[in-house]
Symmetry: C2
Subunit: 327 residues, 2 copies
C-alpha cells in the first residue's frame, strides 16, 4: 500500500508518519511506500522499513498536487494547512493554503480519471461551528464558522463531500477538537494556550493564559488524534454514507479543570508558572468556538478519545517527555 | 445610488432590472446608475431614466470583476451562475462560474480596500440542503448538499459570511425555493419541469413531467423572488447578525396540487397537455432536494411569498402573459 501524507512536517503529520512507520500496516495491508510532503522537509519516520519519498513543496503551486498523486496512493491523509490565528491575520495566505491547496489536491486526484479512487482523510476542525450554540452541538448542527480558518475548513468539507459523491475519491472529514497537549514550540493557532498551560509548566517554563479559567473546550491528545485518522482510513463509503464530515469525540472541560489536572500531575509549583494576561484577539476567536459536542455519530463509528484530562496530561508525559516530568 | 446586477440577462436578473428601473429607487434612495452584466448582453430596462452600463463578460475571467466594481456600487445583486443540471453535467464549468466567479467578485470588492462596503445580495438555493431531512427544515439545519450546484452555493454562502464578518462588504444570501412559473424557453435546471408543467400547457404546448405527482416542493413566483432581493438589500448588518444565509418562504405543495391549480385556471384541456415520462437523472436530483422549510427567520425579517399555488399561476398570467391565457 502507498500512503500520502500532506502537512507531514507538522505536529500531527509527524506523529502520524511515525505511527504508520511503526505499525508498518494500514487497514490490514502492508505499507510499501510513504510519500510525505510539506512546505518544509518532513522528517523520515524512524522505524519504517518501506520506501519513503519526501516532497518539499507548496500544494497550491501549479503541478505540485499532480506530481504528488501520480503514484496513485491508496490512502491520502490531507493534514496540510495554515492554523487559525495565522489564517485570521493573513487572509490571502489562509485561503491559498487551506482552500486552494485542498482544491488542487482533490482536482489532481479527479484528473487522473482512470477509476482510481483513493481514500482521502481530511483534518477539518470544530471551528466550522460558530456561536450562538446549543449546550451541546449535535451531528446535524449547521455550519456557522466565525473565523476564516473555520470558513476554509467548511468549504473544503463541502468540496470533499461533492467529489466523494461523484466517485472521484472516498473522502472523510474529521472535525478535530483542540489537539492537546501539543509538544514543541508554540504555533500561531489561537487555541495554542490550551496546550501551553500544560506543556510549558511541565518543562519548567512560565506561560501566558490569555482567557478566563471558565472557558470550556473539548480536547483530544495527539495520540488519540492520530488514532482518529487511522480509524477513518478504514471506514468504507457504505458505512459513512453521504455525510462524510464527522465531529470527533474528546474531553470537555474548563481551563480551570485543565489546571487542576496539571496540579495533580506536577504540583503547585507547576501551576504557579501560569501567568494571566487576557488577549482580546484570542478571547474573541475562542468565544466564537463551540465548547461541547454530542459526538454521537463518531462514537457509533468507533472513534475513541480520552475520557479525562488527567489521561491527556499522562499521554503528553509518555509520548513527548519520555515518560517523566523534567526536574 | 449605483446598483450592480450580475446575471442580468437571466430571468431573475432581467425582472429585477425591470423592477429597479420602474421603481427608480432602492432602499429609499434614487438609483442614478445601473450596471448590468452577464455573459450575453443584458437588455436595457424599459422605464429607467438613469444611466445604464452594460457589460458582457465572464465574471471569472481575470480583471472582469475588478472592472465591474470600480464604480463602487452601493448595492450588488449577485445572481450570475450556472444552473443545477448544467453544474451537475459540467463539473469544471459549474465550479468556475458558481464558485470562482463569486470569489472573483468578492475579492475584487475586498481589494478596493478603502472602506467602501457595499451591500451584496447573493442568490443561494435550497439545494444547499440534502436528504435525509426532517419533515420541515429549520433555520439551523446543517448544510448537506447532494449536488455540485448546491455545494457551490453553500461554499459561496460561507465565503460571503466570512467577508461580511471581516467588514469587506455586507452580505446576505437568500436560499431561494424553486422559482415558479419561469417564463421563456426551458433552461437546464433540474427543477425546470416545476414551471414547464404550468407554462407550456398555458401556452397551448405539450410538456413532459419527469417525476411522480407526489413530489413535494416549495415555490415562489419570480415577482416574489425579485421582492426578496429588494427586501434583502434593505436589511442592515445589525438586523442580520452573523448568520447571513436565510431560507426564503414559499408555497409548499405537490406536483399534483400544482396541476390542480392549473386546472382551476385553464381547465382540463390545459392539464391534458402534460405527458408523463420519468427521467432518472431528474428524479435523483429532485429526491435529494428538500421539500418543506420552516422559514421562520425569513418571515420574521419581513420576507413575503405567495400563500397558494393558484396565486403563483395568476402572477405568471399577469406578469408574463399580459394578463390573459392565450387562445
Amino acid at each position: 500500500m502507498h500512503v500520502l501524507v500532506t502537512g507531514a512536517a507538522g505536529m500531527i503529520g509527524r506523529k502520524l508518519a511515525e505511527r504508520l512507520g511503526r505499525d508498518g500496516t494500514l487497514c490490514g495491508a502492508a505499507i510499501t511506500t510513504l510519500t510525505l510532503t510539506d512546505i518544509v522537509e518532513p522528517p523520515v519516520p524512524a522505524d519504517f522499513s518501506g520506501s519513503v519519498r519526501l516532497v518539499t513543496a507548496d500544494l497550491a503551486d501549479p503541478g505540485v498536487a499532480a506530481s504528488l498523486v501520480s503514484g496513485r496512493p491508496e490512502v491520502v491523509f490531507h493534514i496540510a494547512g495554515v492554523v487559525s490565528a495565522d489564517a485570521e491575520l493573513n487572509l490571502d495566505k489562509g485561503y491559498r493554503a487551506n482552500l486552494d491547496g485542498t482544491r488542487a489536491l482533490l482536482d489532481a486526484i479527479r484528473r487522473i480519471g482512470d477509476g482510481w479512487r483513493p481514500k482521502v482523510v481530511f483534518t477539518s476542525s470544530c471551528a466550522v461551528f460558530g456561536a450562538p450554540f446549543p449546550d451541546a452541538i449535535g451531528d446535524d448542527f449547521h455550519l456557522t464558522p466565525l473565523t476564516s480558518y473555520g470558513t476554509q475548513k467548511a468549504m473544503c468539507e463541502l468540496l470533499l463531500a461533492d467529489y466523494s459523491r461523484r466517485g472521484f475519491l472516498d473522502g472523510v472529514a474529521l472535525r478535530l477538537p483542540a489537539v492537546c497537549v501539543r509538544p514543541g514550540p508554540p504555533n500561531k493557532a489561537a487555541s495554542g494556550f490550551f496546550s501551553a498551560i500544560i506543556r510549558e509548566p511541565l518543562a519548567g517554563r512560565e506561560t501566558i493564559l490569555p482567557v478566563a479559567e471558565t472557558v470550556l473546550h473539548t480536547h483530544a491528545s495527539p495520540r488519540a488524534t492520530v488514532g482518529f485518522l487511522i480509524h477513518a482510513a478504514g471506514l468504507s463509503r457504505e458505512v459513512l454514507g453521504p455525510r462524510i464530515a464527522i465531529t470527533m469525540p474528546g474531553v470537555c472541560c474548563t481551563v480551570g479543570e485543565q489546571i487542576e489536572a496539571l496540579r495533580r500531575a506536577a504540583g503547585d509549583a507547576a501551576v504557579a508558572r501560569i501567568k494571566r494576561a487576557p488577549d482580546p484577539l484570542v478571547e474573541t476567536i475562542v468565544a466564537g468556538w463551540p465548547h461541547r459536542f454530542d459526538a454521537v455519530r463518531a462514537r457509533a463509528l468507533g472513534f475513541v478519545a480520552e475520557t479525562t484530562f488527567d489521561e491527556i496530561v499522562r499521554i503528553h508525559i509518555e509520548d513527548d517527555l519520555g515518560g517523566r516530568i523534567p526536574d
